[in-house]
């Protein structure tokens, strides 16, 4: 637990978080590993966890009928995977697959949701951090949609 606490406290996502809140996070956290090629989460499944990637690379994929999955983004060391646990209907919207061997810290979203409901200061601190990630990824997606390298631009 002590090790997890240190890792969580030092992670950029939790930078500046009150130490009491960090302890609450630790009580919802565990170390996990995924072999290359395995699915960490699948679209439509209940979303009750999120991950802090410590090693390896994860592909965020969209399922497309009659064709191969489309990788829309990759996430790597230091990044956070999964926010569908935070908002209803608490279901994953994408697949996430380990491209290579992945080591991560899994945080129990269901447990954290309850704690956030009980303690709105914690809820605000968590939501603010997730909103920042969402903003960065939305901007990157917008730029991706512009297809800036295409000839017809």
């Amino acid at each position: 637990m002590e090790n997890l606490e240190r890792i969580i406290a030092e992670h950029p996502f939790f930078e500046g978080l009150d130490s009491e809140f960090t302890k609450l996070m630790v009580s919802c956290a565990s170390n996990v590993r995924f072999k290359a090629g395995t699915y960490i989460l699948k679209e439509g499944d209940p979303a009750n966890t999120f991950y802090l990637i410590r090693e390896g690379k994860v592909a965020v994929e969209v399922f497309a009928p009659q064709r191969q999955p489309i990788i829309v983004a990759t996430l790597s060391v230091g990044e956070l995977l999964g926010w569908s646990w935070l908002l209803p209907p608490f279901q994953w919207r994408f697949h996430a697959r380990a491209i290579d061997s992945v080591r991560a810290i899994a945080l129990d979203g269901k447990c954290l949701r309850t704690k956030c409901e009980e303690n709105h200061d914690l809820g605000y601190a968590v939501l603010k951090r997730f909103a920042q990630i969402m903003e960065h990824r939305l901007e990157a997606t917008r730029l991706q949609l512009l297809d800036v390298y295409s000839v017809s631009r």
Partner: protein, 282 residues
Amino acid sequence: MTVTPQIEVDPMLMHPYVVREVAKETPDTFTLTIEPGNGEGSSSFVPGQFSMLWVFGVGELPISISGDPAKHNRLVYTVRSVGQATHALVSQPVGNSVGVRGPLGTGWPAKAARGKDVIIVAGGIGLAPLRPLVYHVLANRKEYGRLVILYGARSPRELLYRKELASWARNRETQLLVTVDYGGLAWRGHVGVVTTLFKYARLQPAHSVAMVCGPEIMMRFVTRELEMHGLRRDDIYLSMERNMKCAVGVCGHCQYGPYFICKDGPVFRYEQIRPLLEKYEL
């Protein structure tokens, strides 16, 4: 520091060159190697400069030099075949003649970057005018700090110089990060726009010079990211592109606010052109 024009040759004088090789890089992009038709050495150039290439009977095109500045017996260009003239250029058989004016315009501030880390950010074919700078830094490794290359392309099959990318990544004190906007299942690298690579880059902003080339909209986002990471505007350089005709600042085709890209650019200090980057339809 202002980027100064590097013109040493008569910019209106066309020299005959002979096509030695046309190599396919991607489905629509080719690298053309030409040698002086008179058997003498080619004009020396500064990384970032361009030439006007004349395809006889078709027209003249401004193309950035993408070869090694230390190799004086040839000129190398990477060309995307998107129109009649570029198609004609990359379809030239080996042994055919093309006309060359230049090298022209300003280059990357290789001298000013000595002693500092060099950050290269390229998008799509924007890597072509930056490749001579990579060659230069790698050939003069002790004169520079770390070399960080961030390169984004549309898809894996549209990545330029794939073999060289792999060899650059193996160099001492070099960090190469490559991403594509759309990756297939076989692609094991990053997927996402080039700006998403910054979080993996090991930067020392106070001791770095950044040189950026790619679509203008990409460069706008990249400059913002560089500033957010602490780079000073004076340490950021961009290569601009407009339709050039005369290449000597007379015809006005490439006018960009108070500048002519052909004469005052294509490489500009970011601070110099920042207000223009924010103007619509310029």
